[in-house]
Amino acid sequence: MATGLATKRLMKELAEIKTKGTPPGIVLLNAVALDQWVFLISVLGDETIYAGETFALRLKFPNRYPIDSPEVTFLADAEYIPPLHPHVYSNGHICASILGAEWSPVLNAVAVCITMQSMLASNKKKERPEGNDRYVRSAPSNPKLTRWQYDDDTV
C-alpha cells in the first residue's frame, strides 16, 4: 500500500484525472487500490497498425513513488493481450527507458500512458522482441527487477 510520500501525490493525480479527464485514447479503467491502477489504451487515427485494438496497462506504485518509478506492465490475461510490439514481451513486460533509467519524479501516471501510446503509434511492424520466449520463461514477476538495455530509440 502506498504510504507517506506516495499517498498525497496519488490522490492528487486521481483528482486531476477526475476533474480534467485523460487525453484521447486513454481511459482510467479502475483504481482498485490507491497504489494499483489500470488504464485502457488505444491508438487513434488511421495510420496505426493497432487500429481497433485496446490494451490494458497496469501501474503499480511503490511506497517511494514518485521518487521511484511505477511498475508498469500490459495485462496478459483472458480478456487482454499485450500489444505485438518489438519492445513489449508476451508476458506484458515493457522495455522503455522512461520506466527505468530515465524515470523522473516529475512524470506521472498519465505521462506514462502517453509515452506508451506514442510508443505504439510510432511502430510499423507487429512483432515480439528478439528472444521473447527465452525472456518470458525466466523473467521475474516485477519487470523492474530486469536489467534493461535500451538500444533502440526508433519506436
Binding site: 510520500l5 498525497k8 501525490r9 490522490m11 492528487k12 521518487i67 521511484d68 523522473s104 519524479p105 516529475v106
Partner: protein, 524 residues
C-alpha cells in the same frame, strides 16, 4: 593549451613528487614492517635494479587518493577561477583530464559548464550563491512531486532549485538523492529531478541534504569513480585490499610493448595494464585476454580433466599429481617417467629433452591424414596442458611451503643446523614458484608466436628454464637423509636455485626486451 592528440594519457599529477614524498617514505616502511612479521623471510633483499621494461609505480592509500583529488581540484579552481565544487564537477565530467578541460573551458566556458551539467556563467547562481538559487519574490509553492503546499516563507527555506530553476521541496530532494546514492550507487552524475534536465546535483547541496552516513557513502563513491576514471590509477584486485596503484608509465597504447607487473602493499602481484590479479609476464595483456577466452571456450573437455590424472605408462595405475615436480616415480612399480610428456625420465637427462616444444614438422607428418582442425586442437592442447600443468603446480604452493617447512625443521633438529642455515630451502621454493608462473605464461606466449628463428630462441630459453626448474623441484622433494646427505642436498639446492634464477632472468629479460625491439610476431 595545445593538444598533440595524446591528451587521454596526459592525466598526471605533475607536482605530486614533492607533495607525496613523506607518505611514500612511510609506505616503504610499512612494507618492511610487513615483511619483518613474516618469519619465513627474515632478510630484506636489495631492491632489484630497474630494467627498461619495468614501470615506476606507487601504492596509494585512499587518503592519498583523496588528497590528490583535492590538489587537482584546487589547481583547476585557481586556473579557471571557479568555486571548488564547480571545478570538481567539471573535472569529473572530463574524467580528470585537466588539460582537456582547460582547453574546452577556455574555448567556450558556457558550453563546458553546461555539458558538465552546471549553470552557465551568466546565471547568478553559478559562483556566489550555488544554493538555494535566490528567489526574487518567494510565492506560495506546491511541490510538483509530493504535492505539499509551502507558504512564501517556507518556500525560501524548505525548497530548493539548482541553477536550472526546477524547484522542489527539500524532503523530495533528500528522498531522491538518498535513493540514488544508497540503492543505485550513483555519485558524480546525479541529475536534476525534472524530466530531461541534465543539471548535476553537486556535492555541496548533497552534503547539506543528507545525513552524515549517506554523505560519507557519497564521497566514497566519488572517490571510487575517481580511481576508475583516472587512467593512471587502478584498484588492487585482491580481496580485502584497499590500496590503489598509481602508474603513469603504462597507458593503454603502450601495452603492446610492456607488461606492467606491479606488487601491491598487500604482497600480491597484479598487472597494472589489465588488472589480472597476478603476474602474467612475459605475455602482453592482449594475448592473455585471447588465451583466457580460448581456454574458457575450449577447455571444458575431457582433455582438460585428463590433465589432472594420468596412468603410469608401465603398470597403468592411476596417478594424481599432488606435488610440483614433473619427475614421477610410480609408487607401485617404481617406474620413473615425466608427467608432461609421459616419456621415461631417463631420457630427460640427455640432449633430446622434448617436453617443452610442439614439434610441428614431425607432428604434421604423422597427422597428414587427419583433419586440420584436429591438428590445431592438438596444438592448442599441447600448449594448454603445459600451461595448466604449471597452473596446477602453482596451486599446490601452500602444500609445497608446508612440506618444505617440515623438512627445514627436520634439518634443524637432525643436522643441528641453525634456523638461518636452513633458509636456503624456503628461498629455493620461492624461486621455483616464481619460475613456474613465468613458465606457465611462456606456453601461452609460444602458442600465439609465429614460427620463426626468434621463436626458436624463445623456446630454447623456455626449455632451459623448464629443465632447471624440474631439477630443482625434484631435489626439493627428496627425503632428508643423514647429516652428510643434508650438507650435500643443501649445496645442490643452492646451486640449482641460483641456476634457475639465472635462467629465469634470461628468459624474462630477453622476452620483455623483445617487445621493445619488436622481435615478436603473433598469429592471432
Amino acid at each position: 593549451m595545445s593538444s598533440d592528440g595524446e591528451e587521454e594519457f596526459e592525466f598526471e599529477f605533475e607536482d605530486d613528487d614533492e607533495g607525496f614524498d613523506p607518505e611514500a617514505d612511510s609506505a616503504g616502511e610499512s612494507i618492511s614492517d610487513a615483511e619483518a612479521f613474516d618469519i619465513m623471510s627474515p632478510t630484506l633483499e636489495e631492491p632489484p635494479e630497474k630494467k627498461p621494461y619495468d614501470v615506476n609505480y606507487r601504492v596509494r592509500t585512499m587518503q592519498e587518493i583523496m588528497d590528490m583529488q583535492t590538489k587537482e581540484v584546487k589547481k583547476v579552481q585557481s586556473l579557471l577561477e571557479v568555486p571548488a565544487d564547480t571545478a570538481a564537477t567539471l573535472l569529473r565530467y572530463y574524467a580528470w583530464n585537466s588539460e582537456k578541460l582547460q582547453e574546452q573551458f577556455w574555448n567556450d566556458p558556457t558550453a563546458a559548464l553546461v555539458s558538465a551539467g552546471l549553470s552557465p556563467p551568466s546565471s547568478p547562481s553559478t559562483s556566489t550563491q550555488p544554493l538555494p538559487s535566490p528567489l526574487a519574490s518567494p510565492r506560495p509553492f506546491e511541490c510538483p512531486i509530493c504535492c505539499m503546499d509551502y507558504t512564501k516563507e517556507q518556500t525560501a527555506t524548505q525548497t530548493l532549485a539548482l541553477g536550472c530553476g526546477h524547484r522542489f521541496c527539500r524532503g523530495c530532494w533528500t528522498e531522491y538523492v538518498v535513493g540514488k546514492i544508497t540503492t543505485e550507487g550513483e555519485s558524480g552524475r546525479i541529475q536534476c529531478m525534472e524530466s530531461g534536465c541534465s543539471r548535476i546535483v553537486r556535492a555541496e547541496p548533497i552534503d547539506e541534504l543528507v545525513t552524515s552516513d549517506v554523505s560519507k557513502k557519497y564521497h566514497n563513491l566519488l572517490n571510487q569513480a575517481f580511481v576508475s576514471d583516472a587512467p593512471s590509477l587502478r584498484w588492487c584486485p585482491h580481496p580485502g585490499c584497499e590500496h590503489i596503484i598509481e602508474c603513469s608509465q603504462a597507458p593503454q597504447k603502450m601495452l603492446n610493448q610492456l607488461v606492467p607487473t606491479v606488487t601491491c602493499r598487500c604482497g600480491n602481484d597484479l598487472c597494472f595494464g589489465c588488472g589480472y590479479p597476478a603476474s602474467h609476464r612475459p605475455v602482453i595483456c592482449r594475448i592473455v585476454k585471447l588465451w583466457e577466452k580460448k581456454c574458457a571456450d575450449d577447455s571444458e573437455t575431457a582433455n582438460w580433466l585428463q590433465a589432472n590424472t594420468k596412468e603410469c605408462t608401465k603398470c597403468q595405475s592411476t596417478i594424481e599429481k599432488n606435488g610440483g615436480c614433473n619427475h614421477m616415480t610410480c609408487k607401485k612399480c617404481k617406474w620413473e617417467f615425466c608427467w608432461v610428456c609421459m616419456g621415461p625420465w631417463s631420457e630427460h637427462g640427455t640432449a633430446w629433452y622434448q617436453c617443452n616444444r610442439f614439434d610441428e614438422k614431425s607432428g604434421s607428418d604423422n597427422r597428414d591424414h587427419q583433419a586440420k582442425s584436429r591438428q590445431s586442437l592438438e596444438r592448442y592442447l599441447h600448449y594448454f596442458n603445459r600451461w595448466a600443468n604449471h597452473e596446477h603446480s602453482a596451486k599446490l604452493d601452500a602444500d609445497f611451503y608446508k612440506s618444505t617447512q617440515k623438512k627445514m625443521e627436520q634439518m634443524q633438529s637432525s643436522a643441528n643446523m641453525s634456523w638461518i642455515e636452513v633458509q636456503f630451502a624456503k628461498q629455493a621454493v620461492d624461486t621455483v614458484i616464481a619460475a613456474r608462473i613465468t613458465l606457465k605464461w611462456s606456453y601461452c606466449m609460444a602458442f600465439y608466436l609465429k614460427r620463426n628463428n626468434m621463436t626458436e630462441l624463445f623456446e630454447d630459453n623456455q626449455r632451459d628454464l623448464e629443465r632447471a626448474v624440474e631439477t630443482l623441484g625434484y631435489s626439493l622433494e627428496q627425503n632428508i637423509g643423514d647429516v652428510g646427505a643434508i650438507a650435500k642436498l643443501r649445496q645442490e639446492v643452492t646451486n640449482q636455485s641460483a641456476y634457475v634464477q639465472k635462467r629465469h632472468d634470461i628468459l624474462m629479460d630477453d622476452t620483455l626486451r623483445g617487445y621493445l625491439e619488436h622481435r615478436w610476431e603473433f598469429t592471432v
